[in-house]
Subunit: 503 residues, 2 copies
């Protein structure tokens, strides 16, 4: 292989993927652990990415008729108990508020006081509290469909946390809709999965596989859970969004009924669907390289950084003016529905600037020294290429081509991810081969997505999970009917499902 | 007075202002109380207003160099204790998380389990938790100024709640900045107050008075608290935004130090500033009338509603098409930096539609029946005028004038509020007159803003508060030096301050 290339991130992905991830997040200045158990601090560069995600997704939701609202942070314990599976799923890891003030004890220490009659749970998800409102707001078929979404923080207590991927508090949106028919609710469940798919593929440049969760992997209380699954560069799966058809389960729990046209009172049919800050982890793990994050241009916090190279103080004013003129011209252009955002980094820290922006993943860098200015040009580097691969471009050319360059980066990131997934996706029909493939001793070489036959039994699913830490990520929509033998028990199966290790 | 005009809201403002307020919020479908103690549900029409407020304020912050970030919901008890006055101010009314799961007891009942070693407080404000991050992020003068903001939910336990005005959970933004000099921090404190002033006056159409809070009314831990105070239609004051100069108090509590250029290590100077969903209450109480809310066009969730009047089913298609053509033309126009939002309300509920939109406060309504269509016109009503005062306008005229009409409404609302405040603001120099003015027995007639002399003593301030429930809202920036006698103790005073009852 020749001598090792020096990289900005240590360790590299190949050396230690989990450590690489933590280091990339840190080096990109996107987020960090806080001193508060399991909670993260999202720093400006990471939050700006989240703002772009929110802004785009929010528009997509609204285009389907959804309206935003806001519901209480706290859920009375009794609400959580309204749906049996739901309480099972969420009671084990929640933040419980038991008091409403602090008072000094005899030693002057502050202790909880004002005990609440009923403990409150910090929302892990809001089906039950929103169901309470729905039961008041809905009385007739005229009130349906009710299409709501909220942007909020939620808390699920976690013992082992990882920035963006698994934190006790995270930010998300949760959509909640109510319908008069099962058909309409199922259509909405699918419609929102399509919105997620489009967003994740077109904006985050992450290819995904759509499918149904198996019964054991469903959202607690759901009749059907649809999901999109992406492959990270360690060949593990990450669930990037879910959309649940809840049947009438929550309607019954919260007593949400409507008067059908010329009919009896009926329970409504509900759905819920969510996407969280977790997709940021997915973005980093899909595109990041051994030099740091790579931001897909359509959601990048900034698109271009201009780095003036000033060797003599007397040159400074002219070079900055030159940069400013380029910034003005580039900022007037649009890509992905946003005006381009251009940074001028004139900090007095020399070459460290370029590497900082590489680690942050800004799509395009342009260095501008006295000679570039003389030549009326810039020295451009693209984040999807090697840091050394830079090219001089005439100023006008740079300005005129910048949108095409960004689009090329966006497409390149997507295509690379599709290619990577293709290389690491297999059909396996023999149990031994399947076990070998996922054997953790072979992880450096093996692992990935496997389409294999499954008989449909929870026992086989559980055995594979126990033996290999491999789960059925989904029953893909596009898996065609095909006769085969279950990879676990060898009994008859009529289609393949998607197996993988997962985050 | 002649016979009473029928109004959409009962009681009217004159009959019972607090009850009018509750009824207006309900009738406008903006928010409601939830079953969770002290927490509100913000419904789509209210949340859309909040989104417009957020969107505009956020841009204004960013224009001053502020960046958004996100910090944990939970604050360890020990953090709150870092600043003595601060813990005093906030420990009395906070939500305390003491456990991290629920478990079934022997009777099968879910009870809190997994007791935390240290209780966590749901943030009532984030100075201490953000200070913790600042102490890590700041080491040199190069890291300053650090200009952060977060949009978040906060919780301050309240026993008596009122939608938007006082709820246990509310939404807000909190800005937190750190600076190398006192002067720069004080400038930032003032700069953000100016942002609030501009926003509240130009967008919410609420005139405000800027000033300093007295020592006893300051934010716990602040050296100086600047505020803007608005007058509601019951002539009480509402604090619409605050900006705090925190000196080095929180820097010392959280150990936020920086290496000054060629100098010793020093503590930074910090500021914080916030505006919350409370301003929505202020907007309702400033502009609302006996028919409901009046939305200032610059922040209105929608600007125009078209109400097709369909008497025969066969007319429907043509009238809806006519409405759609108007909608398309009007939606292409802009006001206050936003494209106009137009609703077509073709629900089959007759005249109730018009009243619903009046109660919601949409700035412009246009009824369109077969005859209007024949005349190529619309029948327009403005929310700032009487519901009966409607006028026919030619279609083209309506489309061409709509932006001017909205601007006229915006200005009219502001000017009415300025006029009302003027009528209800007085200079009073005699104690008896002052006490009579604020006597609650006279509240139907009296009450308002009073500029009176104050000696500066906390005792006089406290006595007036105790006797009359009247507080010093602020020491206005524009109060000139003037010799006088304290309205309470008659000793020498050098300037007037603003007294009022307040929310």
């Amino acid at each position: 292989m020749g001598k090792k290339v020096k990289t900005a991130i240590t360790p590299t992905r190949d050396e230690d993927y989990p450590a690489w991830y933590q280091e990339v997040v840190k080096a990109s200045d996107m987020a960090e652990h806080s001193a508060v158990r399991g909670c993260m601090v999202i720093k400006p560069w990471g939050y700006a990415l989240w703002e772009n995600i929110v802004s785009k997704l929010d528009k997509m939701f609204k285009n389907t008729g959804v309206k935003n609202a806001y519901f209480p942070l706290f859920i009375p314990k009794s609400y959580l108990e309204k749906e049996a599976e739901h309480v099972e799923g969420f009671a084990k890891e929640c933040a419980v508020v038991t008091h409403h003030k602090l008072e000094q004890d005899e030693n002057g220490k502050l202790v909880p006081a004002g005990k609440l009659a009923e403990p409150l749970i910090v929302r892990p998800t809001s089906e039950t509290i929103i169901g309470e409102s729905m039961s008041k707001w809905i009385s007739s078929y005229r009130d349906l469909p009710l299409l709501l979404n909220q942007w909020a923080n939620v808390v699920r207590w976690e013992m082992r946390t990882r920035l963006f991927l698994r934190t006790s508090e995270f930010l998300w949106q949760e959509g909640h809709t109510a319908h008069s028919t099962e058909e309409e609710a199922r259509e909405r469940t699918m419609m929102m999965l399509e919105v997620y798919t489009k967003f994740v593929q077109d904006f985050l440049a992450i290819p995904v596989i759509q499918g149904h969760k198996t019964e054991s992997e469903r959202f607690p209380g759901a009749v059907d859970t649809l999901c999109i699954e992406a492959m990270m560069q360690d060949r593990k799966a990450l669930q990037a969004g879910t959309s649940h058809f809840l049947g009438q389960n929550f309607a019954q729990g919260s007593n949400i009924k409507f008067q059908a046209e010329a009919k009896e009172e009926e329970f409504v049919w509900t759905t819920s669907w969510g996407m969280s800050t977790r997709v940021i982890g997915g973005l980093i793990m899909t595109h990041g390289d051994d030099d740091g994050v790579i931001m897909p241009p359509k959601v990048a916090p900034s698109h271009v950084v201009l780095i003036p190279i000033i060797r003599k103080p007397e040159e400074k004013r002219k070079i900055i003016e030159y940069c400013q003129s380029i910034k003005d011209a580039v900022s007037a252009r649009e890509y992905g529905g946003r005006k381009l955002i251009v940074e001028i980094d004139d900090r007095d820290i020399g070459g460290a600037r370029g590497w900082e922006w590489i680690k942050k993943g800004i799509p395009v860098r342009a260095e501008i020294g006295p000679r570039d200015m003389e030549n009326d040009s810039v020295f451009m580097g693209r984040r999807d290429k090697s840091p050394k691969e830079k090219e001089p471009l005439k100023r006008e050319e740079f300005i005129n081509k910048i949108v095409d360059i960004l689009d090329d980066i966006q497409n390149n990131l997507y295509n690379r991810a599709v290619e990577f997934r293709k290389e690491n996706t297999h059909e396996i029909d023999e149990q031994k081969k399947f076990y070998d493939f996922f054997d953790s001793k072979n992880q450096g070489i093996h692992g990935g997505f496997v389409h294999a036959h499954w008989c449909g039994s929870a026992e086989c699913e559980e055995k594979i999970k126990k033996d290999l830490s491999v789960t059925i990520r989904c029953i893909p929509f596009n898996s065609t009917t095909e006769q085969g033998k279950c990879i676990c028990c060898n009994s008859t199966s009529s289609r393949r499902v998607l197996f993988s290790k997962a985050y």
